[in-house]
């Protein structure tokens, strides 16, 4: 049992699906939908929601920013609605919202 259990499991599942696909059991369309299906849904977060997420974790804007690898001024702008988080930023925030700050540590 390695430490990369989740990663290996992911690879294993994908390989199994790949085998099913090669075997003609499923097509690539389904294969792709399978990949998309197991993702956490991303919805645009309101400024208050972002602030709520941060305060739920009991951290300052500066510390929160460090976790996300962004500047603290940007976090401030998110929470005031001056800027809205985009692709990767929104994904990270969604992860924190669902699973907590520790999962992105």
């Amino acid at each position: 049992m390695s430490k990369k259990y989740k990663s290996d499991a992911m690879a294993a599942i994908h390989e199994m699906m790949e085998d099913l696909h090669v075997g003609g059991v499923i097509d690539k369309q389904t294969m792709r939908r399978f990949d998309d299906a197991c993702l956490t849904p991303i919805r645009p977060l309101k400024p208050e929601e972002i602030k709520a997420i941060r305060e739920r974790e009991h951290v300052s804007q500066a510390v929160f920013a460090n976790y996300l690898n962004v500047t603290s001024s940007l976090v401030s702008k998110w929470e005031r609605g001056e800027k809205r988080p985009s692709g990767a930023s929104l994904k990270l925030l969604s992860l924190v919202e669902k699973n907590g700050l520790a999962t992105v540590a």
Copy 2:
């Protein structure tokens, strides 16, 4: 035992540190260093490294992009060195590199 174990644990640890701080055992400097200390170090990733990370997970650029909530063209640019991932993107990639794709699903 709730599902938010990690998050609660994080909050608990922070509250404990906060108590220590209030009690005068540690100062805010140390408090801040504590927060920074438990983060996965972020280093700039080379194009080949990004491609290696993706191929290790056995997914196409399109699927990989979906996981990170970015466009597939951007992933292509990352791997060819046309664009370099920044703050939140770099954090996400680092997470995938360390813990696997499943942890950001």
